[in-house]
Symmetry: C2
Subunit: 338 residues, 2 copies
DNA sequence: GTTAGCACTCTCGCTCGTTGAGTGCTAACG
DNA sequence: CGTTAGCACTCAACGAGCGAGAGTGCTAAC
């Protein structure tokens, strides 16, 4: 056994192979490298190097007389290099949000669509959970026919509303008075506290029982929805463009796995570094064994963190994807920062 | 040339062929019919009848020694029969909504998902346009950090909100006073009128300019969104389950055509009869030449009409689909009726 | 260490029988 | 006259066999 190091030349060759394969999706041969990338070396030399790289586990041959295909280990090396050396974010991508932003949900969905559009991959965006939201304001807005719209706003700026029935004797002034009273009593409490308090009030069974009930159910809903991370998916059928998924069965398995968002949630919610790349089995999602999942974190307010990402075949232009994600993540951090 | 009528026996045979083909997606031969459906007739007799039916354009042969496949004309005949004879709605489907309904949008999306789930096809639901909505109430809800949530409610029960910045000197009482004033001035006006009126106010450039601006933009947005029919799509990748779309290219074309919702909108917005079935080219959508689109209308309030539907290969269990759509349409009419 | 040359391997695409399903036609039957 | 049995015929699907081409590993020379 000879030396086990990956010297600079091997690295260059490996990179060339990866980049060619990302472009063509075809096994790449020694001649291709010798002519297109390392013109100073002959194909025979490349062959020797490739043979070494194969032995080290960076390359694989679909069959003996085909070219080489980069292994997941190769992508890993390549990506680690990118992450270390850094890369420029793609500023074009930053202006891609057309806004029309209503609230967090809207930002997040439009981010998912933007990423999918920009990268032509499947995009995932995690909306971070917001523990311990405190009520900031409660308001009843009159609606036609004895109904009212109950709006709850929390200190983090989350808004949720629901339509409830109220006595039709209550005009807008009365509703405002109630709103005021409720806000006074409930402002500053966490969603959980509110639910507990209302459990007590509810027994009184006054004329406002329906209102209180509405608040309780809305608070419960908000808490449930905010206690768990939510993942939004965009461009799910972009995957069909790639030869890796020309097999319909595989495509279907992929799309079905996407539906079950819990696995993705698990992956995205433990997001630490600014960028992460899960190649192949590293993601732990069985139906995405051949996929790479590239993710970037973003900051929302103080302390809360979310993540955005892209899912596609392991053969992926990592540099480009990373720089796009970087840009969107920055835009998102800015947008949600305040 | 012999007689051109489709007698009862031909009809029965045709129906058998359709039903078998819907099940198997395989060309059906004379022997199959003779053994599984018309046991009193020999395969030779069936062959003669099939030959007639082919001449009349109801059947086609993929190649000379394959069985027969029903033509679009055959489906048309079959469906017309179903529509004339009537069918029972599938009551199981009616209870499928788990509610959690916030407002119209929610009803409509959950309907789309329910239909997709129930039929295993791609579901489309049209939210009808609502011309001439009149403002019923305007309300500013205080939010942290000098922001406010502006909520507009119309007489049809549509709700829209947006976050705007306001002077942070305005407390909840002040906001209520403004809300009251605005409601007084604007209630009963159409969205269009409101926009016109605000054009005048805006020139005054008072401290509330931002509020008025917010109202105007929200009204514009509501009007834009309600003036055109909106189509929601659910279960778009169900199509991948069908052998007709085992070709990825076809699947991709289909999904891309789905994205361009305008063609579907055109189809759904001219919905007259309670049920309609567009087979093959009848839909006028090029990328859905081999599809059938089954739609059902529903009633929302007085006069407004929407439509729900299912898109899949022309080979479709029409009876089942129609009865499911019937049920959902009824449920929807009930839910949105009041 | 690099390179030219060469034998070798294996996929891909092609052709060519073979098989089997299903038809159309004809002649016989009730 | 409608129905049926029988039979020849057609054609897709499948698999085997073959040649071409791409790409390799190895060896020997530079």
């Amino acid at each position: 056994m000879r030396e086990a190091g990956v010297d600079a030349r091997k690295r260059r060759i490996l990179q060339a192979i990866i980049e060619d394969y990302v472009l063509t999706a075809l096994p790449v041969g020694s001649r291709t490298i010798s002519r297109k990338y390392e013109t100073s070396l002959s194909s025979a030399t490349i062959r020797n190097e490739m043979s070494d790289l194969e032995e080290m586990g960076y390359l694989a041959q679909p069959h003996v007389s085909a070219g080489r295909v980069p292994s997941h280990k190769a992508y890993r090396l390549y990506v680690d290099g990118l992450l270390q050396n850094g890369f420029a974010v793609n500023d074009d991508a930053k202006g891609f949000f057309t806004s029309q932003i209503r609230q967090m949900e809207d930002v997040v969905t439009s981010a998912a669509h933007a990423i999918a559009e920009l990268t032509h991959y499947t995009a995932v965006v995690m909306m971070p959970k917001q523990l311990e939201q405190r009520i900031s304001c409660l308001q009843l807005v009159p609606m036609p026919r004895g109904a009212a719209l109950l709006v709850i706003v929390t200190d983090t700026g989350a808004i949720r509303d629901t339509v409830i029935k109220v006595s039709d004797r209550l005009d807008s002034d009365a509703l405002f008075a109630i709103s005021r009273l409720l806000t006074e009593r409930l402002a500053g409490r966490t969603l959980q506290e509110v639910q507990e308090m209302l459990g007590v009030y509810a027994r009184m069974d006054g004329p406002d029982a329906r209102v209180l009930e509405g608040i309780a159910s809305l608070a419960a809903q908000m808490e449930k929805q905010s206690a768990q991370d939510t993942v939004i998916i965009g461009g799910s059928h972009n995957i069909l463009s790639y030869p890796e998924y020309s097999d319909v069965e595989k495509a279907r398995a992929f799309l079905t796995a996407l539906e079950k968002k819990d696995q993705l949630t698990r992956l995205l919610s433990h997001h630490e570094a600014p960028f992460m790349v899960h190649i192949g089995g590293e993601s732990g999602i069985p139906d995405m064994q051949d996929c790479a999942i590239v993710t970037a974190g973003y900051q929302v307010g103080k302390g809360h963190r979310g993540a955005i990402g892209v899912i596609g075949p392991a053969r992926m232009p990592y540099l480009q994807v990373l720089s796009t994600l970087g840009a969107v993540s920055e835009a998102l951090t800015e947008l949600l920062g305040e």
